[in-house]
């Protein structure tokens, strides 16, 4: 009951006019930043950090500036979906998985429905995470600490397994796609030994920083998608009519039940991945998509506009962003780039983030948690209200939209990394993705691999140093063991299916597979 009292106090404090106003402003800025390709929550909070010092001087507390930054973080999670669905360019790395099914829905003329699903799923994901956070933050922090390197690697293996064991897709092509992503993620400097790897031409210029994830994601889903659309609509440049009234928005909300499964998976899985060290909202959303597809009865509908495929990543990225706050607030350790900036803010506002924050600074912690709830409500309301406006983008003729996508992709990448090499690379990936798509290669596994590779590789190697090179470490530890076993079974599942089909086929006297 103590917790509920604290929470009630916290929500009341968050509803104070100044805090409410800041939360609203933060959400709107976040929506915009999130929707802009190349800019994500980390850019939003970093750019506005100086502004929070002014807020602190006015309000005299560290809570209001933090509420403001947290609202930007939240808003950006909602905003990312907007460009993913309407333009097919991921607005932020956390919304990459949203393009998988959001974009096909939009092409079918159901962008409004996709946006509603994304908004409502985000709201549910955020709320579930908030409730879990409120109830069990200190407990979960100690669970997160039990995840050492072997456990995290086992979890990464599980994530890859969900993508291999999906069935439906062509398995060899899925594997090729994963390995391509892993190779790309290995480019740059090796963390463990410090040696440069796979550098092209002159080691000092090309690739020395590694391949940034957004370069691949915007290349594949911005440029690649644009080329694909041009190719498919060559003779018919008129896009589908996309229009929606507020009444239809309401009806879509009522129809939200269709995506409950994806939302449930995303909300829980996202939060869990979010609290783990080194993970965050991007891996969380991709894993949620994989699991939602795996448990679905209609696997073949995924990637073609399945509501669950929008709901899973969107609920997961909101849930994970709340989750990522947990190690920051309970342990003083940032789990993602955005939380690193928030942590820096806390230090300069005079707080000592760490295990004692909850006990020493209840006046800071509880209004902030209260504001998570408040910001979430503001974000879903603002988002739903603006859906008819977002759809205006889709009513533009494609002859205008295609150049716009191109310009936004190029500017977004340059703005993010301020380096022309990354722009060329992005275009290269875009053309490559278009060609691979014509050859029917699934691209999502490559994107997953480039996100998870940099987490999987060091944890694998650190674990092997720990065990003197023995793989048994992944089986004998109480948490890592079961996860590894499940992952291996998932990877082998399609193989069993293949063998069964072969036996059946040979039973009928045929040898073809």
């Amino acid at each position: 009951m103590d917790v509920l009292l604290h929470l009630a106090d916290g929500i009341l404090a968050a509803l104070a006019p100044i805090n409410l106003g800041l939360a609203f402003l933060g959400v709107v800025i976040g929506l915009f930043v999130g929707a802009m390709p190349g800019l994500g929550s980390v850019n939003g909070v970093a750019i506005l950090l100086p502004f929070t010092f002014v807020i602190q001087q006015i309000t005299g507390t560290a809570t209001s500036p933090m509420i403001f930054l947290a609202a930007i973080y939240y808003g950006a999670m909602y905003g990312g979906a907007i460009s993913s669905i309407t333009l097919g360019i991921p607005g932020a790395s956390t919304a990459v998985a949203t393009t998988f099914d959001g974009r096909p829905l939009a092409l079918k003329g159901e962008a409004g429905r996709a946006l509603v699903i994304a908004a409502v799923a985000s709201f549910i994901g955020g709320t579930v995470a908030n409730v879990v956070f409120t109830g069990a933050a200190p407990l979960l922090a100690s669970v997160a600490l039990k995840f050492g390197n072997p456990e995290i690697f086992a979890l990464m293996l599980l994530a890859f397994a969900t993508f291999v064991g999906l069935g439906g897709d062509d398995i060899p092509k899925t594997l090729i796609s994963i390995f391509f992503g892993l190779i790309v993620s290995a480019i740059g400097f090796d963390i463990i030994s410090g040696t440069p790897r796979l550098l092209l031409f002159d080691s000092t210029v090309w690739f020395s920083r590694g391949i940034q994830f957004l370069v691949l994601a915007i290349g594949v889903y911005g440029i690649g998608e644009m080329l694909w659309t041009i190719n498919s609509y060559r003779y018919d440049m008129k896009m589908t009519e996309a229009d929606i009234t507020m009444k239809e928005v309401g009806l879509s909300i009522l129809r939200f039940r269709e995506a409950w499964k994806g939302t449930a998976i995303g909300s829980l899985l996202g939060f869990f991945v979010g609290i783990l060290p080194a993970a965050g909202a991007t891996p969380g959303s991709l894993m949620a998509y994989g699991v939602a597809k795996m448990v679905s009865k209609d696997k073949s509908k995924f990637g073609k506009g399945q509501p669950d495929g929008v709901a899973a990543p969107e609920s997961a990225n909101n849930s994970a962003s709340t989750g990522a706050m947990l190690p920051m607030m309970t342990l003083g350790i940032p789990g993602s780039p955005t939380t690193a900036v928030l942590l820096a803010g806390m230090v300069i506002w005079g707080l000592q983030p760490g295990p004692r924050l909850f006990t020493d600074q209840p006046d800071f912690v509880w209004p902030l948690i209260g504001s998570f709830y408040v910001s979430n409500v503001i974000a879903v309301a603002v988002n739903l209200a603006f859906i008819p406006l977002f759809l205006w983008v889709l009513r533009m003729p494609f002859t205008i939209l295609a150049p716009l996508i191109f310009v936004l992709s190029v500017v977004g990448i340059y703005a993010a990394y301020q380096n022309i090499y990354d722009v060329w690379l992005m275009l290269f990936f875009g053309i490559g993705a278009f060609l691979l798509r014509i050859l029917d290669y699934p691209l999502a596994p490559a994107v997953l691999a480039i996100v998870l590779g940099p987490i999987a590789e060091p944890t694998l190697r650190q674990s092997l140093i720990l065990s003197d090179g023995s793989l048994s470490i992944f089986f004998t530890r109480p948490i890592a063991g079961p996860i590894t076993v499940v992952a291996i079974i998932l990877i082998l599942l399609p193989l069993f299916g293949l063998i069964r089909r072969k036996i059946k086929a040979s039973g009928r006297g045929g040898l073809t597979v």
Binding site: L145, K146, S203, S208, R209, P334, A340, I348, P355, R356
Partner: protein, 322 residues
Amino acid sequence: MNLVSKISLGAAALGFAVLAAPVQAFEPVKPIDFVIMAGQGGGADRMARLMQSIVEQNDMAGRPLVPTNKSGGSGAEALLALKNATDKDHTIMVTLNSFFTTPLRQPGLEVDILSYAPIGRMAEDTFVLWVHKNEGINTFEEFVAEAKARGSDWVMGGTGSAQEDEIITNFLNGAFGLNMKYIPYSGGGAVARDLAGEQIDSSVNNPSEALGFYESGDVIPLVAFTDERLPFFPDVPTVREKGVQFAYYMQRSVVGAPGMSEEASAYYTDLFTRVFDSDEWQTYRNDKSLLGDFLSGENLMTYWEVQRERHETILKASGDIK
């Protein structure tokens, strides 16, 4: 820029010229690229973000400092980013001791640290040996006995390979007959977390990295690798008191890209002198057990030369370089 602000800017510049000769001809005209030579959450990262906040809060620079973490390859990524910077007058970096060790270990980078602009040394960070409270170890002697008994099953976690933490680990192994296993991490934050979660048995985190878990009582400091006891930990002995002549510090310096103009370098030296003198920085220094005076220019270059020589000796002794 309108006339009024031009005039006021001119007046401000004049005021400066009177206060601090030589005349500062350089003013940043775009956001300053503020490279951090380490990952998120570690000592270098926290410090860099604090410096950025101090600059922003007190409006010290005309343009914002934009921090970017480049932790790849034990700092090689960051060193190259500065070496290849397109705008040398707007690219600065927060460094640590990998500034000395990484160019020694990777001659292929063709990095000469003396070509970097010596903007200012903000502090020397200190190292302390930490264990988890559940080990039941309260003194350095107990640590030596336990670690010796467990041999290579005693795991030390630290930042990077053949860098500060591994240098200290090698020293402990050699001087006290231990055989601890060393596991490299990408940053001090991850090391602190894994010690708190008992994934590793000990760390040599900087106080700033371990302070949160120290205050909550999860980790215990056993020995400091400094010449004298740290004011913040008066009961923690130095390794010198344990009979070995050893002390090791980490530089926390700001450097400019090689080829930075003298005017720009002078501008940044002035900027970081003011950061150093600010109340916020001085408080942070005291709270996080940082030592060392502000150094810049020739003095900093001399310090670098001495440190490079020392690290060359250490790395040769450990066999990391020939």
